[in-house]
Structure formats: structure tokens, C-alpha cells
């Protein structure tokens, strides 16, 4: 009888000396299954009468209940947290405590519990002065041009704009000798027809040649850009030195007089599920639809950190949750019918 035993390569011996310092170690996060953003107001709307605010929260309520029922939780009890983003970046008025009191009592009256409150300004620059928005700005990758990009194009975005294709070319910029006077825009990843989107990310106010600090100090980020930061923070994907770029602070019972004195994210409900979540839902009036389209375009160009993604994936697997690979598919929206 002939027996055959495959030769086995000897296991490599355990190394006698090991040294490899990871510059950044990614922190394990407590995660909810779903993070729900329960409405959105411009600052002037928050300043005005109470009735429209209450009305929006009342319209949010049934969809919030539906979200709680449908959260993807792998069979375990769903962990759902709610949040609200204060629009203090473009206009900020000095009666913060009054607005906060009004907001929390009206939402409660409509049966919508707000667990976390965050400031849009913090998505640009944190309370400690760190430029959060630049984390995203440096992680955006422009789409390669068909049959053109062989690996040498610098990945940095300098124009302050981000598109999903090639813009329209008008007659004025075409060579006069050419037959065509107009060239259609192109969405690079189109299926049959193009939907060309070009999003303004920021405007720079500094003089040309100014140093980087000055440029960043005078850079004004667009609303979709800050909303993209907000979405990526909620999904636990935007980090600084391994920890979330914006962190949660417990509410100390008293609202500061100025918005700029607020912590970045405040936990107002002590019993809330974790702020960060595998997936996000934003419920808001339908006039925000174009903004959210722009947000998705930005998120679709976001280069995730491999270590961060691997940690999230492993955790999801342990919890038997299927999270979409494409980040923008982790975000969903419900646009409330009618006007504001």
C-alpha cells in the first residue's frame, strides 16, 4: 500500500525580535445600528415663530417611528440614536440658550426625542481650533478621465469644485476651425444618459500666494461640503489620529451664551444609544434634496482609511449586520412632502 503525505512547508518560527510602530491606532467605537437626523432648519427659521418648528417635528415623527422599526440590526434589539445639526456656520445669532430650549421642548412636544445636538461650524473647525473640514478635503479623489489617467495625476483638489464627469464645452473655448460649436457634458460612470454634477466645495478668500494657515483661515466651506463631513462623522468614518474627528460631550445642564462655546457634539439624552452608527438616515424638508445630492457626490469621492473600514467591517460581521460596501449606500434620506 502506498500512502501519500503532502510535504508541508515548515511553519516559520516566531520572530525573536519584533518592532513595527503603527503611527495611528484606530479606536474601536460603540455603534448604533442607525443614526437618524430628525429635521433641519436654517438659523432664521429657528429664530422665528414656534409653530413651523413644531409642525416639522410632527411631520418627522411617523418617519422616525418607521426608521426605528426598520433599522438593520441583525436580529438583535435595534440601537437607534437621533441627532440634530444646528445651522450656525452661515449665520449665528447670539441667543443660543433660548433657541436650544425652544428646540428641545418643541421636539419633545411632537414626540421626537433628540439624543445629540451638533453644530455645523464644528464640521468646519472644532471647538479646539482643529480644521476638521480639511480632513475631508484631503481625502477626496477626483475621477480619472476615460483612457487618460495613467497614474500620474496629482490627487489633490485645488479648484474647490468636484464633479462626476466632464463639463459642457462652449463654442467660445473651442478652436474656431473645429466643426463642433458645442460639446455635451459627460458623466463618467453613466449608464445610458449622463447626469453631470459639479459641486462647489469651498470658496477661498485669501490673496494668491498666501500661506496655508491664512488660506484655511479665510476659506468658506459650502453647505454640502459641511454636510458631507457631518455624514461621515456619523458613520464613524472620518477620524483624526484614530478617534472620531468630532467627539461627543455630555450635556452639563447649562447652554453657553455663544454657539462657538458649545462642544462639537452634545449628548442631551443621557439614555441615548451611541451617536456613531453603521447607517444613517436624514429626515428633512424636500428643499434640501439638491444639497443632499451634492453631499452624495462628495461622499462618493471620499477615500476611506483602510484600518477604520476594517474595524467597522469586523464589528458588523460579529453583529451579523450587512453594511453596504459603497459608503453613500449607507446613507438614506427621507424628504418631507410640501414646503418647509
Amino acid at each position: 500500500m502506498v500512502t501519500y503525505s503532502p510535504s508541508r512547508a515548515a511553519e516559520p518560527p516566531a520572530p525573536v525580535f519584533r518592532e513595527h510602530h503603527r503611527g495611528t491606532t484606530v479606536k474601536e467605537l460603540s455603534l448604533s445600528h442607525l443614526s437618524v437626523e430628525v429635521g433641519h432648519f436654517y438659523m432664521d427659521e429657528l429664530e422665528n415663530g414656534e409653530a413651523p418648528i413644531l409642525a416639522q417635528f410632527q411631520r418627522v415623527k411617523p418617519w422616525l417611528d418607521a426608521a426605528r422599526m426598520s433599522a438593520v440590526s441583525g436580529g438583535s434589539k435595534p440601537r437607534v440614536s437621533t441627532c440634530f445639526l444646528i445651522d450656525d456656520y452661515f449665520q449665528s445669532w447670539p441667543d443660543a440658550p433660548e433657541i436650544m430650549g425652544k428646540l428641545l421642548s418643541l421636539s419633545q412636544q411632537a414626540g421626537v426625542t433628540i439624543d445629540y445636538v451638533a453644530r455645523e461650524s464644528a464640521c468646519a473647525r472644532r471647538a479646539d481650533g482643529f480644521a476638521v473640514a480639511e480632513l475631508l478635503a484631503n481625502r477626496l479623489l477626483e475621477e480619472p478621465e476615460p483612457d487618460q489617467d495613467t497614474g500620474g495625476r496629482p490627487p489633490a483638489i485645488t479648484s474647490g469644485w468636484l464633479s462626476n464627469g466632464k463639463p459642457t464645452r462652449e463654442a467660445a473655448i473651442l478652436n474656431a476651425m473645429e466643426a463642433h460649436t458645442w460639446e455635451a457634458p459627460l458623466e463618467y460612470g453613466k449608464r445610458n444618459h449622463s447626469i453631470y454634477v459639479d459641486v462647489e466645495l469651498w470658496q477661498d478668500g485669501a490673496e494668491p500666494g498666501a500661506d496655508r494657515e491664512d488660506v484655511l483661515g479665510r476659506r468658506v466651506y459650502s453647505c454640502p461640503f459641511l454636510a458631507a463631513v457631518w455624514q461621515l462623522v456619523r458613520l464613524g468614518l472620518l477620524r483624526k489620529d484614530g478617534v472620531p474627528a468630532l467627539e461627543v460631550t455630555d450635556f452639563d445642564g447649562q447652554w453657553k451664551a455663544e454657539w462657538s462655546q458649545f462642544p462639537d457634539i452634545i449628548k442631551v439624552n443621557p439614555n441615548a444609544a451611541p451617536f456613531y452608527a453603521y447607517q444613517s438616515l436624514s429626515i428633512m424638508p424636500q428643499n434640501f434634496l439638491p444639497i443632499e445630492t451634492a453631499v452624495r457626490n462628495i461622499v462618493d469621492h471620499f477615500v476611506f482609511d483602510r484600518d477604520v473600514m476594517a474595524k467597522l467591517d469586523r464589528r458588523a460581521q460579529q453583529e451579523k449586520i450587512v453594511v453596504p460596501e459603497v459608503i453613500s449606500q449607507r446613507m438614506s434620506h427621507h424628504f418631507l412632502p410640501g414646503g418647509k
Binding site: 426598520s70 440590526s73 487618460q148 495613467t150 453613500s328
Partner: protein, 326 residues
Amino acid sequence: MPGPLAPSSEPAPPPRPQVVLGAVTTGLLNTSEPLSLDAARQALALVPGVQADWRQYPVEQVVSPDLYFGLDCRLFVGSGSQPRIIGTARARAVLTAGHFLQGSASVEVLLGASKRRLPWSHYMAHTGVAESINKANPADIVTGFLRDRPGKSLLDLGNTGAHVMSLLDQAPQIDRRARLKTQTHRLLWAAHVQEDAEPDGHVDAGDDGVFRVQMSVTASQLPDFMEMCEILALHHWLLTALKNAFDRSSRTGPSAERELEAALSYLAHVWNPRAHLPHAMRGFWDALEDAAQLTWEWQTTLTRVRDKVSLLTRKAIEETLLKEVL
């Protein structure tokens, strides 16, 4: 109440790349003295919010976070149409001994993954991977890539690596006053990914001075293989830089000493290819050393440089003594 399961079913396991292509560009960081470990870690933190990885023993080495470059281009194949690939290349900067800078770029190629270019979000969910639209033979792609003849719209990872190196040009930690003349070198590598493959391959030294490495590896050996290619690229560059300095010293006359002195102070202490060599690559490396004898050549060249410095010094002393006697 427990929530429903995901609307989408369990995703299929991601398809494995059949071919991985890479290029390592190596050069001298343009600074008069090697960077300290701290300065190197600051200079190589190329992505805000992420710090560079590092090791200290036996040779200091700092590795930048990964950077990505968009790709939509062609791969060269000997026959048939050139496959078009779309996706991203992954690249990083590696600084060894505070002075030797490498841009290391690679892309995993998935063959015949789709029939058209998909929305960009699809490629961003699989960074470091490029998908080919048409079918192609992995062996043809390996051969075609290593051929490395420049062509319009052909993948050029050497350019990617060079770009990563250039990101350090403006680093405040460097003084842009290197005293040694060197040239940037490029090494190309291609891996055919096969399960159950023993690391098996070969290195071709081309008449253009480029080393080309070809290997069959398993997916789990890829990082080790890539690291070995970086080590080989660095040591090939060191050897070439020392030899060039020696050759120049024979031609330059009075400045010969300066030339050799810079070469000795910059290069002499760093030869140590086994320092960070991954365990799985030791067998291959030993075979390579046996055939190419890079370490022997290094030692010989170094001895010649030192002998020449001794001779030049003795001559200088004799001349001085002679002057005093006269």
C-alpha cells in the same frame, strides 16, 4: 422588537485580483544630513489625521499612510487589444535611514470584472484595485507591464511613485542641500496571484538599468513580496549610487576627494538588505544573492572607495610634507 434583516442579501466574497503590478522609485532625499526619526515622521505624515508608521532597529524606517491615484488607462499586452482598466493605484512613501526616499506604487488588477465603466463610488469602495473591462490573460499582462515601453494612455506606476516622492520636496524638514549627486531609479514588479503558489520568481536586469521582478505568490504573501521589492530597489540604488560616485571620482580630478567623502558619509553605513526582509522572502533573497551577489559587489566597491580615499589622503600628506621640506 427585532428589526428586519438587511434588504440586500449577503454580498458574495469579493473576487480576488489575478495580477498585481507595482513600481518602486528610489532616490536621495534632497537634504544635507539624514532626517532624525521625529523629523522623518513629521515629513511623511502625508495624509492629515493619520501618522506615519515607523521602526527603529536595525535601520530607521518611516512609512507614510497610503495615497490613492485615479486610473483609467490601458495595459500593454503583446497581442490582441489592450485591456482598459479603471480604478485606483495605491502608493506610499518610504524613508530609510532618514535619507533614502522611495515612492512605492501598486495596483491589484481584476480581469473581466465588468463591461463598462461603473459609477465612481464602486471603485472607491475597493481602493487599490483596478478592474479591466475586457478579458485578458494574466501572464500577458505581467509580461506587457514589465516591458515598460512608454506609450500613450498606458499605465505608468513609476510616475505615480515619482509623484509621491515629489510631495516631500516642499517639506520644511529638508534643506534641499544634498552633497551627493545621484539619479532616481525605478524598479518594476509584477505578481501573478495564485493560491498554493510557493514564492517563485526571478529578477531581470535590463539594459536600461531597471530591475524587473516577476513572481507567483499567494494573496497573503503580497505585502511581503512588495516589501522585498522595496528592499531590492533600495539596495540596487545604493550600489549604483556608490559605483557612480567612484566612477566620477576617477574623472573629476581635484574634486575627487569631495565626491568620495560625500559617498562614504551618505552611503557607507546603510547596506543591510536583510534588515527588514520578511521571513517568507528569505529563501528567494538567498537565491538572488547567490546568483547576483549584490552584497559581494557592494563590499568590493566600498573597499575600492576606501582604498582610493586612503591613497588620496596619503598623497595629500606627502605633498604637504614635501612643501615643508622645500
